[in-house]
């Protein structure tokens, strides 16, 4: 039995989508066959109009359909912090956490020489004029070797500009048990531990934000 070319064509196009194997593509194609024409047209239309309308924000390289993205054009966001992330999806993840009110900068990748990705392939150059003396830049690339390398590279570029450069914390996920943590993460959780008691000498008042840890200071690593 030969399959109709337009069925084969649809299955082939669907199986190009990431995370959709040939079997899922086939199931999707049969599912779509059963849908009313309007639904298919709406899906096709959504694909085309997304491609037509969306582009990257010229300031932060987040995805937008406007001249500037929603964060860059919101004066209520804290203009004094920039959080640097790998991908537009990371912006959504951070926004969902509700813990951040500053600006973003989306690199669209990580340094990976063996995949031909050097600094010039990432949106690094346009980040530099955005950074002011004393401004904080949070390096929120992934905690992989590639994410670390990209963060270290940026750190070297940003320090001479007088930026306060920080890195998101490595450690145990919330709800975790030591027993189930891998040894690398556990090691980082120990070396990155934060002082929670007040240093006896300094009479600074302890900050009282809701996680009870905001005012912590790091302690030297015991070996």
């Amino acid at each position: 039995m030969k399959y109709p070319p337009s069925l084969v064509g649809l299955i082939r196009e669907l199986s190009r989508l990431p995370g959709i194997g040939p079997k899922s593509a086939q199931r999707l194609a049969f599912h779509l066959f059963d849908q009313p024409r309007e639904d298919i047209e709406r899906l096709a239309g959504a694909l085309l109009s997304a491609k037509r309308d969306l582009h990257t924000c010229p300031v932060c390289f987040n995805i937008t359909d406007a001249e500037r993205c929603d964060v860059c054009s919101d004066p209520a966001r804290d203009q004094n912090v920039i959080c640097v992330v790998e991908e537009p999806g990371d912006v959504i993840a951070i926004e969902r956490s509700g813990e951040y009110r500053g600006l973003y900068h989306v690199l669209h990748g990580v340094l990976s020489p063996m995949n031909g990705v050097g600094p010039e392939r990432l949106h690094i150059r346009p980040l530099l004029p955005r950074v002011q003396e004393g401004q904080e830049v949070i390096l929120a690339t992934g905690t992989t070797v590639e994410g670390d390398a990209t963060a270290l590279y940026l750190q070297r570029l940003l320090e001479p500009l007088g930026a306060v450069v920080s890195r998101i914390a490595y450690g145990l996920p919330v709800g975790g048990a030591l027993e189930y943590a891998d040894e690398v993460t556990l090691g980082r959780a120990l070396t990155g531990r934060q002082r929670v008691s007040q240093p006896p000498a300094s009479p600074l008042p302890r900050r009282d934000d809701e996680d009870g840890q905001g005012g912590s200071v790091p302690v030297p690593t015991p070996r």
């Binding site: 990431p18 995370g19 340094l111 990976s112 020489p113 063996m114 995949n115 031909g116 990705v117 050097g118 992989t144 070797v145 590639e146 670390d148 390398a149 963060a151 270290l152 590279y153 070297r156 189930y180 943590a181 891998d182 040894e183 690398v184 993460t185």
Partner: protein, 233 residues
């Protein structure tokens, strides 16, 4: 681990260079679990694979971290580590047994991570890896005409040319000594005789040409090794 790729479904596909040869495997859903920490680029891991006859990729069941080299993320080391991994990936085939290749590669990564002069480690180890895989630059005779004792750069093939065939001035004596002996002599001996920094760009160009002609395209150095990036592609 010489390659790592995360699929949109959250699987991690890794390429490992092991004493039993090069292996490609998948850790299903790995990005959400403890495997993500262990299966990191350049990590030395012990893995337990489950291979079914049908599937082309083995599945990573368990992974134990044997050693991490976090300093490889530093800008002055990172590109060299990529170059080592990419060279190893290009030079060694799946199913090919090579405990020696594993040892050499692991030593190269350790060297790039810990030595004060990672560039020199990368140059030496690149030639050693090439030699182990059977790619030895011709240094006794001119690559074009066969005349003995050539001393000039070969801008196309990365080997050596005689004065007649050459268009560039001869290599300085240290560079020439290095190119003639690096494959044969011990790593330690080469490490003890570093070529001065100002001579290295020419060596990198030669290596880049040699690998591109003999082995194939390697992306890493075009991007980050400063001396080579200057070369017109």
């Amino acid at each position: 681990m010489i390659r790592r790729r995360v699929t949109p479904a959250g699987d991690i596909i890794v390429t490992l260079l092991t004493p039993q040869g090069k292996i490609k495997a998948i850790a299903r859903g790995g990005v959400r679990g403890p495997l993500a920490s262990r299966l990191n680029l350049f990590h030395h891991v012990g893995v337990q694979l489950y291979q079914t006859p049908q599937a082309d990729l083995g599945t990573v069941q368990q992974a134990v971290l044997e050693g991490a080299l976090p300093r490889l993320a530093e800008p002055e080391r990172y590109a060299f580590a990529h170059l080592m991994a990419e060279l190893a990936d290009a030079l060694f085939q799946e199913g090919e047994f090579s405990a020696q290749a594993f040892e050499l590669f692991a030593g190269a990564l350790r060297g790039v991570s810990h030595q004060p002069d990672p560039e020199w480690v990368a140059l030496v180890m690149s030639y050693k890896l090439l030699g182990l895989a059977g790619f030895v630059p011709q240094t006794a005779r001119c690559a074009r005409c066969g005349t003995a004792d050539p001393a000039h750069p070969d801008p196309l093939g990365g080997q050596l040319l005689c004065v007649a065939c050459a268009s560039l001035p001869a290599y300085p004596p240290q560079s020439l000594e290095f190119l003639r002996n690096v494959v044969r002599r011990s790593v330690r001996a080469s490490m003890d005789m570093p070529v001065p920094e100002e001579q290295r760009p020419a060596l990198w160009r030669a290596l880049e040409r040699f690998v591109t002609v003999q082995v194939g395209n390697v992306q890493s150095w075009r991007q980050l090794v400063p001396h080579v990036a200057a070369v017109p592609a």
